[in-house]
């Protein structure tokens, strides 16, 4: 069991009578890049929400770097990209990043915001309000927001949704770079090709259970597609 990575032991989550997660066991080493697949309603987003501290598990334990995910100290080490952007429409791209930089205790939030805007190629829209951005630009700005504290752990919930081809390429390169830098990443995706190209591990969640978990090395898109279809019962 990794004390530096991410550990889930028997994680269950109930919403009323519905058991969204039925005892998930997961052990992710520091520096791993896990691509998590599964059909809609499998519990992928619920698992990510538990790992980043937005939800509390009904039963079981979820730890990041050996700490309970609800501890304030661990939040600085975690970056999240969700379905929603967490961005204020009435603030500019720069102001949004500067605000989050200040919340995360960055020493020079303005410089950090400018650097991140350059990294996601939005510097020319620095002073435009986030509310005027396209879906793809919002997604890129969300990525910058998630990286504002230079987190060690990054949770991505379908980050490629709404990205055009250049933005998706830019984002894929960025993910590869983050992995090279030693970040631990969990990414939910429906795109098997992208998942295989960036990850070191592949997992499938179905009906609230982890039904597949293996290394990516040597896996081809068509092989994994067959495994995926079999595991979700198609």
């Amino acid at each position: 069991m990794s004390e530096n990575g991410i550990v889930c032991k028997g994680v269950q989550k109930k919403f009323g009578d519905i058991l969204a997660l039925k005892g998930v066991d997961l052990n992710i080493e520091k520096g791993d890049f896990l691509a998590l697949f599964g059909p809609n309603g499998a519990g992928k987003t619920t698992l990510i929400k538990i790992l980043c501290g937005l939800l509390r598990p009904t039963a079981g334990v979820a730890k990041v770097a050996g700490h309970d995910v609800h501890e304030t100290g661990i939040r600085k080490k975690v970056g999240v990209i969700s379905h929603k952007s967490f961005l204020y429409d009435d603030l500019t791209a720069f102001e949004n990043l500067k605000f989050y930089g200040e919340l995360y205790g960055e020493l020079n939030p303005s410089k950090k915001a400018d650097n991140l805007l350059k990294q996601v190629e939005l510097f020319d829209r620095r002073d435009d309000r986030a509310g005027t951005f396209s879906r793809g630009m919002i997604q890129r700005l969300s990525i910058a927001r998630a990286l504002v504290a230079d987190p060690e752990f990054i949770f991505l919930d379908e980050p490629f949704t709404g990205l055009d081809v250049p933005s998706a390429t830019l984002f894929r390169d960025l993910l590869k770079q983050l992995h090279v830098e030693g970040k631990t990443v969990i990414m939910i995706s429906h795109d098997i090709g992208i998942g295989i190209s960036v990850s070191t591990r592949l997992a499938i969640l179905n009906g609230g259970k982890l039904v597949y978990d293996a290394k990516t090395a040597g896996m081809t898109t068509s092989d994994f597609k067959s495994i995926y279809m079999k595991e979700i019962g198609l």
Binding site: C52, G53, L54, T72, G73, R75, K76, V78, V80, S82, K84, S85, F86, L87, Y88, D89, D90, L91, E95, F99, Y100, E102, L103, Y104, G105, R129, R145, A149
Partner: protein, 176 residues
């Protein structure tokens, strides 16, 4: 303590900036407060003998109802794009989120009162100069109490579907 103040200031300044741009709080509440004062001015048969008794109540109705409206709008901004999750996921003390939002809401209510009170004085022909300092102190203290409770309840009910009506109900329950 220093960290708490820094985080509170960051959230307060963010709220001020978003308010300047969106006028989410001031836009709706200002018109509402003015309308309440004008409507009551026509609704009651105001005479020199009953005006002082009725006017104070009307003023407080205008402040409390418009404040309630503003509190709802204040958290609406945080609900859009799930910004509230962005705040709760950040490593800031929950108290600084609360105090930052409370400070912002008090400031916006005071801004409304600065405009509404002179309109009220003119329409109701009330002489407030005699007790100006006392009145100002009472208003500021009430703003603090109202917004402290109101912000807490709005935050608690921010993720509920019927959050606006529920938090309004609880707010008045606590205030009474």
């Amino acid at each position: 303590m220093r960290e708490l103040l820094r985080e509170t200031k960051t959230i307060f300044l963010k709220d001020v900036l978003t308010e300047i741009r969106s006028r989410a709080f001031l836009g709706t509440t200002f018109m509402f407060a003015i309308l309440v004062i004008i409507i009551f001015n026509f609704a009651f048969e105001l005479r020199p003998d009953n005006t002082p008794k009725l006017a104070s109540g009307i003023l407080w109705i205008a402040f409390l109802f418009s404040g309630t409206l503003g509190l709802g709008r204040s958290f609406q901004v945080e609900r859009e794009n799930d910004c509230i999750n962005g705040l709760t996921l950040s490593p800031v003390d929950r108290m600084s989120i609360y105090w930052g939002k409370t400070a912002g809401n008090i400031t916006f209510l005071v801004v409304i009162q600065i405009v509404v009170v002179p309109v009220f004085i003119v329409l109701y022909n009330i002489n407030v100069m005699e007790h100006f300092i006392l009145m100002t102190t009472v208003i500021i203290l009430t703003d603090f109490g109202f917004m402290s409770v109101g912000t807490l309840l709005s935050a608690m009910s921010a993720n509920l579907k019927n959050f606006s009506s529920l938090s309004s109900f609880c707010r008045y329950l606590f205030l009474s």
